[in-house]
Each structure stands twice: as C-alpha cells, then as structure tokens.
C-alpha cells in the first residue's frame, strides 16, 4: 500500500500531481480510459484548491476492500470553503463557472466522491476509483 502526500502551492504542481496520480493508477492496472478520468478529476480538484485556496495537500492512497483494489485521492485545503455547494455540484452557475464545472465533472468521473467544506475553514474532497 503506497501513500503519497504532496503539497500543492504553484500551478506547476497541478500538472506534477496529476502525473503522479496517473503513475500510481497505472501501476495498479487501471485502463487508459480510467487513467484519463482519474487524472482529469484530480486536475480539476487540485486546480480549484490552488485557485481558491492558494494551494493544499494531495494524498494518494492505494486502497482495498473485500473484493478489489482501488485508488483514493484526497484534496485538502484551508481556503474559503465552497459556497452554495449544491449548486456547485450540479454543474455550477456562471458566476462560479470554473469551480462548478470542475467539481461536478470530477464527481461524474470517479466512483466515489465525498466533500466536506466549511466557510473560512477549508475543503476536503475524497475521490475513489475501483478496479
């Protein structure tokens, strides 16, 4: 079980992190379609963290349940939190444009999606994809 914890603080980190996640996922045996889904979802979430919170921490974990292995990525930031979460998850409205699209998109691409957000405290998003 490999764990990685990566600090995101610059825009370059967004690309580096998604490449790292892609590597780990590839090692687990995910298909090229799933690799792209995972990398894209991570890209969306990490970009949000960078854009709205100035950065955050990304944790990459190999996980296992009774039946199969999977990949878990946690994106955690200490930013302003996400206002009107329901709206953002539905695909957002034009003012939250980028954030809404990214969040809803990431949710659609992954198998599991959990989000905990508190105004002025931060946001933690957990996403998972199973083999």
């Amino acid at each position: 079980m490999t764990d990685y914890e990566i600090l995101v603080s610059t825009e370059m980190d967004i690309i580096a992190v998604r490449e790292k996640v892609r590597d780990v996922a590839k090692g687990l045996g995910f298909s090229i379609m799933d690799l792209t889904r995972i990398a894209t979802a991570v890209s969306e979430l990490v970009r949000n963290a960078f854009q709205y919170a100035g950065g955050g921490t990304v944790t990459i974990k190999t996980i296992q349940n009774l039946h199969r292995k999977g990949l878990e990525v946690i994106v955690d930031d200490h930013g302003p939190g996400i206002p009107e979460l329901d709206l953002a998850l539905k695909g957002g409205h034009s003012t939250s444009g980028g954030m809404g699209l990214g969040l809803a998109g990431a949710k659609k691409l992954m198998d599991d999606f959990f989000i905990d957000t508190k105004q002025n405290v931060g946001t933690t998003i957990v996403i998972r994809k199973w083999l």
Partner: protein, 125 residues
Amino acid sequence: MATESIIPILKLDNFLISSPQIAIHDRIAVQYKDALLQKIAETKSKGLILDISAIDVVDSFLVRVISDVASAANVMGCHTVLTGMSPAVAITLAEMDLQLKGVFTALDIGKSMKILQREEMRLRD
C-alpha cells in the same frame, strides 16, 4: 513584435497549425492564447488547426483556453479546428458534459484542412 510562444505556431497554406507538446499550465496559457491571436492577425489566417494529440489530459481549464481562442479567432474571421483528441479524452469530456463551443473537430490534420477549405469556399459564394 509578436508575443514569443514556447509552443510553435506554423503557417500551412492560408492556415495556421499548432501542436502543443507540453502541458499548458496557467502562465503558458495566457502567452499561448496571445501568440495564437497575434499570429492570426499578422497572417490574416482564415483557419487555425489545434492539434492536441500530445495532450493526455484535457480538463475544464484547457477547454476554457481552447474556447477562448476559438471565440476570439472567430471575431477575427478565423475558424478553429480541434484535432488529435484521444478517445480517452473525448470520453472524459463527454462524461463531464464539457462542451467545446465554436470549435470544429476533426479526426486528423488532413480532415481539418478540408473543413477549413470548405469554410473558405463557403465565404466566397
């Protein structure tokens, strides 16, 4: 003097073609957009072919970059054709319900040229 672009923009007949080989992150994106639009203006190109075959992840940010370029190019009378999208990227975009507005798409550069030539003919009539 045109904005310098790390990503080459080449002239092909009356059109421009650009094929990013690196990930387009935020700082590069602004320079790239500017360079593309300046080149369109300089060459008075009627068409731009964006070949993304070397790009393995297209997220909403990149979709926005492409849409912005296409919109601005459109205002300048230039069509944009996106080509080289991998099946994985195409599926991901569809699943995220991300739409590329104002952009033609083609399977390869040859077909991209045909689309642009067709649009050019249309304007002549």
